[in-house]
Amino acid sequence: MTVWWIGDIVLLVVVVPVVIYLLAGVLSEARGIVPSVQRIGAAAAAGSADLDAVPLLLTTQDQVIRTIETAANYGGSLDVILDDAREE
């Protein structure tokens, strides 16, 4: 009979607090991850929205090509019009 009581006491004083402590820690950490994951998702969505302007790079590319072609034509004309520097 005494052994039964000792077992009950050990179960109530040691096992139950340890189980509650461990499970509470796991739940706390799991709940702490949720906001972080939500922030990561929001940041990824915002980053994806920022990249919506990427197609404008094609326009930039066309403008750069036209600008360089114009500069090349202008430089070619200058090459014909202006005399070269004299060797010192």
Binding site: W4, V19, L23, G41, A44, S48, L57, I68
Partner: protein, 235 residues
């Protein structure tokens, strides 16, 4: 049932209830985490897809910009000379002379002339493009000479056709006119029409009217103008 057995059963039941509560709560939290990660992964996939062509486009832009830099640097060095080119670039962008030109490593060894300390940017451009610009006559002491005093006036001639500007001695000279001119021209019947060229070739002679007049004509020997074989030498 003895009392210790009842206590044991109640304790086990309590432990099971605690386990159920915490485990269910953990499952709910893990589901939320899974949902958030799914959203994040979807957004990351969008980022990857949207940024895929960026490298190619930016590479093309950089390629064209590099070509433009090479073109402009080469043209500037060719037309202005290495020393003046370094001075002009350093005048527009102070400190750029230390970096030098990309395709001209020797440009870093050149001491940039102090062009910008005397002239404004616009004046520098005009002086550089037009070597004979009056403003370029005065060069800063120790700086680049922007004007070639001896050859500056000849530089502008190269802008015009070769035969007209650089070789004027090969052009035909203007005709000499007057009574003492080496070539005498006959008066014409009408403006722009000449009856006879100086060499004796008839131009407007009509066969009916070109017949020689009678020998006893009153002024046959006085006015030989326009007659075939008339003496065209200067009087």
């Amino acid at each position: 049932m003895p009392a210790p057995g009842v206590v044991l059963i109640l304790t086990v039941v309590a432990i099971v209830l605690v386990l159920v509560f915490f485990l269910v709560s953990t499952i709910v939290a893990l589901r939320q985490i899974t949902k958030g990660l799914d959203e994040a992964i979807a957004s990351v996939v969008e980022i990857i897809e949207k940024s895929a062509p960026v490298e190619e486009v930016v590479g093309t832009i950089n390629q064209y910009l590099d070509a433009g830099v090479e073109l402009l640097e080469g043209l500037l060095v060719k037309k202005a000379g290495m020393r003046d080119a370094v001075g002009l670039v350093d005048g527009l962008y102070p400190g750029a002379a230390e970096a030098g030109f990309r395709n001209f490593p020797e440009s870093t060894e050149i001491t940039a002339p102090r062009i910008s300390e005397v002239y404004t940017k616009g004046t520098l451009t005009l002086a550089r493009l037009g070597r004979e610009a009056p403003i370029a006559a005065a060069s800063p002491t120790g700086g680049a000479v922007l004007r070639n005093v001896t050859g500056g006036s000849l530089a502008a001639r190269s802008l015009y056709p070769e035969v007209r500007q650089t070789r004027p001695e090969r052009l035909q000279r203007s005709p000499v006119i007057g009574t003492d001119s080496p070539v005498q021209y006959e008066p014409s019947d009408s403006p722009g029409v000449r009856r006879r060229l100086p060499g004796g070739t008839a131009v407007l002679d009509d066969p009916a009217t070109a017949a020689p007049p009678p020998a006893n004509a009153p002024d046959a020997q006085n006015d030989p103008e326009g007659e075939p074989g008339a003496d065209t030498r200067p009087v």
